[in-house]
């Protein structure tokens, strides 16, 4: 049994590439290395870790999409650099970067467009995380309605797909979204 052991690039390099300070990177790496001594996270571990935060429902599908959003090079495993790069965008990036990352998350097949099926998958995955016991009772077509609302808002030219520009424009018009993007500023 070969252990894939990966060491990340130097601390200075990572500090230059991301928006984290050295101390923050140290804290992050310690946590990362503890969970994954081999230096890479595979999808199974990723799903397990994420599922611990959502004990009510089934977080595996959303974790799957997240994993593919983190794994930029599509190698099947997330190294510390990928992890920290994504975190840097999400926590310390500009609004533009965050929105672009979210677009990339929604675009499951990474073709540059979001269509209704991809959105359905994502929304269903999010609703799965709620679990069975919700109030009010979760109905069969709630995810579909949610997607319809989303598309009505985002799809400007009503062609059935959302491009990056449409997405950015619509999000920037929505005050709620803009405000909530500042939510996770002080997470670290």
């Amino acid at each position: 049994m070969t252990m894939v052991c990966h060491r990340p690039e130097g601390l200075e390099q990572l500090e230059a590439q991301t928006n984290f300070t050295k101390r923050e990177l140290q804290v992050l790496y310690r946590g990362f290395k503890n969970e994954c001594p081999s230096g890479v996270v595979n999808e199974e571990t990723f799903k397990q870790i994420y599922a611990q935060f959502f004990p009510h429902g089934d977080a595996s599908m959303y974790a799957h999409y997240l994993f593919h959003a983190f794994d930029i090079t599509q190698t099947g495993s997330v190294k510390f650099e990928d992890f920290v790069t994504a975190l840097s965008i999400l926590l310390r990036g500009t609004v533009h970067e965050k929105l672009r990352w979210t677009f990339n998350l929604y675009d499951i097949n990474k073709d540059g467009y979001i269509n209704k099926e991809e959105m359905m998958d994502i929304v269903k995955a999010i609703y799965d995380m709620m679990g069975k016991y919700t109030y009010p009772v979760l109905k069969e077509d709630t995810p579909r309605q949610h997607v319809d609302v989303f598309f009505q808002k985002m799809d400007k030219n009503k062609d059935g797909i959302v491009t990056l520009d449409e997405f950015l424009e619509s999000c920037q018009e929505d005050d709620n979204i803009m405000r909530s993007l500042q939510l996770f500023q002080n997470v670290m």
Binding site: Q26, F32, L87, L90, V149, F150, N176, L183, F184
Partner: protein, 647 residues
């Protein structure tokens, strides 16, 4: 919250960015984390030995002593370290648990002392890692047995708990299978055992010759013929009991076909059938021979004892499982018998008046010799015969001695396996309970937090209940994350009870269903948003109903905390102390009236009952005033008082 994932919370919260464009309601503000001191190294002084570790490491398990604010009680400001007057050797294991997530059991320490340390540091014994768990439990069990506290063995032997409301059939079957469960079953068990013994003894005694009455010449008769009526009555009684038992078992069996095919039921049938056949067969000379043979089958009643003895059952099972070894034994013996019989026959053929008249006749000699019985009724007389006879007896020893140890070891293995199966069943129960406890601990913490009014939009933090404020930073952030998910999907987390009630309310076609049916008409974003409002208002109503009782409970808990009675002796996670799952209030039908009352009120009622807003209507004021009284420590008030005042 399980091992080490506290460090991954920032990642989980960052991933929530993916929900933002989908959220239909504005997300709640992030909890104000106090000035994060950044990670630092803490010094823990345990009886003079200094241990140093990162603060983050200890924060991984917030429901233990070292992970929660309880360690502040042990903080020594002069030296800047946490001092514990406990065993430093044991502390090493406790600290390693924080570092690696696995609690190991020290081999050379007393289990009792280890348990006490775990209890002090707030660690549940179930946290012992899988590598050391079996040994830990073994040693603990040994200890308990030695101290004559056999509770664990008793628990293992109780069998599965019977669900309430089971039918008579199920109860009967369970009484048959586990006689230790009820007194009646135990009595029945012993009675049948007694009658089996009586029946077998009667069968045996029947054949003993008793001296007849003084008669010349004294005729010896078997007792059965001397006292035919007595033996017949005894036999009838036994057979009646056995028949009754068999029919009862047949009635109670969950699967009758399977029961009919099982070995025990076959034995039962064979035990009682001869009697009935004997009743119906006329006392005919021709058939009486066959009838006598049937009586032989009565001896099978002794096999009914195997229900009463587990060892017998294991023996039977062993023989069944060693069928291949037995088969080999038989086959090799047969081969040897045939070979040697043939040889002996031809060796002794020449002798006059020899016993070895044919090869089958020589079989008897071979068998008797190979099993080293040596009756001596057939003996070889020629020299060749004697030589081959001795070879036969030597090889007999070998051939028989080979498969027997295999059978013996099989029996021993199966017997120990049986013992271990019982042990494993008990361990599995504990493991499942552990998983359920961990899961329910988290869910209930969040639900209780909601009920305690922790999700208020009001920014005046001072008015929040103390128990709400007292959660760790980790819990705050985790709950904020879950709250964001709720807002994104426009649904809330509830517990099973409320969910089933809501389902029931929907099926009744009450007002609850109307509001949900509004949401199911997908017209446009506007209607969806408006349908969110009655839900939100209803949630406020429920919160009002729930929080009145729970905040008073929360303040009661706070009083207990200050009195220092925080940690309960039973191994419970700290979060579950605040969460009492069965205390969730019922969403009874009266809550529907709430909706009407609150929607009609122009200004929203007081969110936090502790706030006194002069602009709020009498309902809110009434609620808050009643709460003032309750916060002084009176027991929780009924929701009805609030309802009356608001209507």
């Amino acid at each position: 919250m399980a091992a080490g994932v506290a460090t991954w919370l920032p990642f989980a919260r960052a991933a929530a960015v993916g929900w933002l464009p989908l959220a239909q309601q504005p997300l709640p503000p992030a909890p104000g984390v106090k000035a994060s001191r950044g990670d630092e190294v803490l010094v823990v002084n345990v009886s003079g030995r200094r241990f140093e570790t990162w603060k983050n490491t200890l924060d991984r398990y917030p429901d233990t002593l070292l992970g929660s604010s309880e360690k502040e009680f042990f903080y020594d400001a002069d030296s800047g370290e946490y001092f514990f007057d406990r065993d430093p050797d044991m502390f090493r294991h406790v600290l390693n648990f924080y570092r690696t997530g696995r609690l190991h059991c020290p081999r050379q320490e007393c289990i009792q002392a280890f348990d006490e340390e775990l209890a002090f540091y707030g660690l549940v014994p179930e946290l012992v890692g899988d590598c050391c768990l079996e040994e830990y439990r073994d040693r603990k069990k040994e200890n308990a047995e030695r101290l004559a506290e056999d509770e664990e063995a008793e628990q293992a032997g109780d069998g599965p708990a019977l669900p309430a409301g089971s039918s008579l059939r199920q109860r009967l079957w369970r009484a048959f299978e586990n006689p230790h469960t009820s007194t009646a079953a135990l009595v029945f068990y012993y009675v049948t055992g007694f009658f089996i013994a009586v029946s077998v003894i009667a069968n045996v005694v029947e054949t003993i010759p008793c001296r007849g009455p003084a008669r010349r010449p004294p005729r010896e008769q078997p007792c059965g013929d001397r006292f035919p009526l007595a033996f017949f009555c005894m036999d009838t009684a036994c057979v009646l009991i056995f028949t009754g038992e068999y029919l009862l078992r047949l009635f109670a069996a969950p699967s009758r076909c399977r029961f009919l095919r099982s070995v025990m039921s076959l034995i039962d049938v064979v035990a009682i059938l001869p009697y009935y056949i004997g009743l119906f067969v006329p006392k005919n000379e021709d058939v009486s021979g066959a009838f006598v043979t049937l009586r032989v089958f009565r001896v099978f009643r002794i096999f009914k004892f195997s229900r009463h003895s587990q060892g017998l059952r294991i023996l039977g099972y062993t023989l069944k499982s060693c069928a291949s070894e037995l088969g080999f034994l038989l086959f090799s013996l047969t081969m040897a018998i045939i070979i040697f019989a043939t040889v002996m026959f031809y060796a002794e053929k020449g002798t006059n008046k020899t016993n070895f008249t044919s090869i089958p006749a020589a079989f008897w000699y071979t068998i008797v010799t190979m099993t080293t019985l040596g009756y001596g009724d057939m003996v070889p007389s020629t020299i060749a015969g004697k030589i081959f006879g001795s070879i036969c007896s030597l090889s007999g020893v070998l051939v028989i001695a080979l498969p027997v140890p295999v059978i013996v070891s099989n029996f021993s293995r199966i017997y120990h396996q049986n013992q271990r199966a019982d042990k494993r069943r008990a361990q599995q129960k504990v493991r499942l309970a552990r998983i359920r406890l961990a899961k329910s601990g988290t869910t209930n913490a969040f639900l209780q937090y909601k009920q305690n009014g922790g999700l208020e939009d009001s920014s005046s933090g001072e008015e929040q209940a103390l128990c709400v404020r007292n959660r760790s930073a980790f819990e705050q952030q985790h709950h904020h994350l879950l709250h964001c998910l709720e807002k994104t999907t426009c649904h809330e987390f509830t517990d099973e009870l409320t969910f089933s009630e809501a389902l029931g309310a929907v099926s009744l076609g009450g007002r609850t269903s109307r509001s949900t049916s509004v949401s199911s008409q997908a017209v446009g974003p506007g209607s969806l948003l408006s349908s969110c409002c009655p839900r939100r208002a209803k949630r406020r109503a429920i919160r009002l109903a729930n929080s009145t009782a729970s905040v008073s409970r929360g303040s009661m808990q706070e009083l207990d905390t200050l009195a220092g009675l925080r940690r309960s002796p039973a191994p419970q996670s700290r979060s579950s102390l605040n969460a009492k799952p069965h205390d969730s209030l019922d969403l009874n039908c009266d809550s529907r009236d709430f909706v009407a009352a609150i929607i009609s009120i122009p200004t929203p009622p007081a969110n936090t009952p502790d706030e006194s807003q002069p602009s709020s209507p009498g309902g809110g004021g009434g609620a808050s005033s009643t709460l003032r009284n309750s916060s002084l420590g009176t027991p929780c008030l009924l929701p009805e008082t609030v309802k009356i005042s608001s209507l």
